[in-house]
Amino acid sequence: MRKSLTTRQIVAEWIIENLIRLCGISAILFVFGIFFFVFREGAPLLFGEGGFDLIKFLTSPEWYPSSNSNPRYGILALILGTASVSCLAVLISVPFGLGAAIFISEFCGPKLKEGLKIVIELLAAIPSVVWGFIGLTLMKGIIESVFGVPFGLTVLNGAIILALMCLPIIVSISEDALRAVPDSYREAAQGLGATRWQLIYRVLLPAAKNGLLAAVLLGVGRAVGETMAVLMATGHAVNIPIDGTPPYFHALDSVRTLTATIAAELGETAQGSPHYRVLFLIGIFLFCITFTINLVADLVVRGIRKE
């Protein structure tokens, strides 16, 4: 039996329903709004404003945006800066992250597990500027004394700081993936006499591989998009850390990343100037990279669910 609603109730229902609907679609509106704004500021260059050359933009290592006579906007050094710091960070954080996830899900007792999870969440809650601070002071000193280099704000410094920042994402998503492996697999393997180690590398890692891959990709996404910490820790020098002399990759060089360039320079450019537009174009470029990475990670995770 249903009592008919009064007019007041009908109006209240309508308001609440639409309010909730608005909240729901606002996320989409914001994303499109941001994309639209960034694109509007950077796009004129793509349509050839001021004789802009996209190929040169992407492949020239010359970044002299504030030269009076001949400003040049080549972001190759910045791309390689971002790539080198991110790759090294992922190389450092993946083994630690996977190891920690395996330990948490398979080895430690319930109390230690809770404790570790809280600590890892805390690690995720540290603001990036604080990480930058650690890079700028503590890590700089350590790198200078360990490697005997005169200046400790380097690719390695930024990569270590970034690795610590990616770690919580990699650990928590990998741990979810390992926990999602049905217990019957563990019983089956142990029932056949598998040791813990055999269980992990023969059964758990293959069974959880999609989730683990997604964890790594999201870690990469975080590494590419991070700004403040790398701005403070990498030395902020436009420089390509790769060249033809051994060891080919110079982790103890200073570099500058795409994100750090935007953060450092945008405040000093005149709105609408070529320099301003180039910085927005870098933003579009970054947006595309992280969007692709997140999309791939998402598809990979969906792949698991289907199985």
């Binding site: 007792g109 049905p182 019957s184 697999y185 563990r186 019983e187 089956a188 393997a189 142990q190 029932g191 056949l192 006499g193 598998a194 040791t195 055999q198 023969r202 059964v203 293959p206 069974a207």
Partner: protein, 259 residues
Amino acid sequence: MSEPDPNYSVNVRDFSLWYGDFQALKNVSLNLRDGIITSLIGPSGCGKTTLLRSFNRINERYGNVTTSGEITILEKNILDADVSLPELRKSVGMVFQRPNPLPVSIYENIIFGLRIHSDRKDLRRSEMDEAVETALRQVRLWDDLKDKLKNRATSLQLEQQQKLCIARLLPLKPRIILMDEPCSALDVDGTRAVEELMVSLADDYTILIVTHNMAQARRVSQECIFMLLGEIIEHDRTEQIFLSPRNQKTTEYIEGRYG
């Protein structure tokens, strides 16, 4: 302690087991005869699965397990601290309630045991192929699956999965096979097929099966153990238990007054 009788493959003396403070098994003593099927029956929570899972010590996965007493398998007390669990589980195989093939190919499922128990360099392709064929023939799956060995084992029908789970124990040449309600996830035909398989394997292996299904215990086992509240009430030939049980509680359970 008396000398273990060679006709028995498992001797249990005064075995008790606790989960934390809860005593699940109380001073259990029994002998399992070699080369026959023994069934373990009793109402839910009586400890029959716990007892079964003590024989390959897979109970210990849950952590808070303490035990006392002795379980002698192949002249060795398996509760000793120096027992190697991989070796124990190699000679005491286990089939679980729900078929649990690993998410790899049929072929890899069957040689999984060989892979984890031997060095990589000692495994020759021809040996592995032979082991797979022998094991699949023993469980009568070879003709159905010989062309699909590369398929994922998890895509098989449940009956085939369960037979595969039995087959993957065989390359390790176990002495004892433990089965924890192996047919409870199967339909009538699947149950019949797996039961026939058990009977055909009984000559070469000692089989211990936990079952809720009294008719099944009657069909497949030569000896039967009735348990209640963590204790063994009666252990005798299966006909004896079902036709003229000695204990009043056994009679009542078999007549279906509780359980």
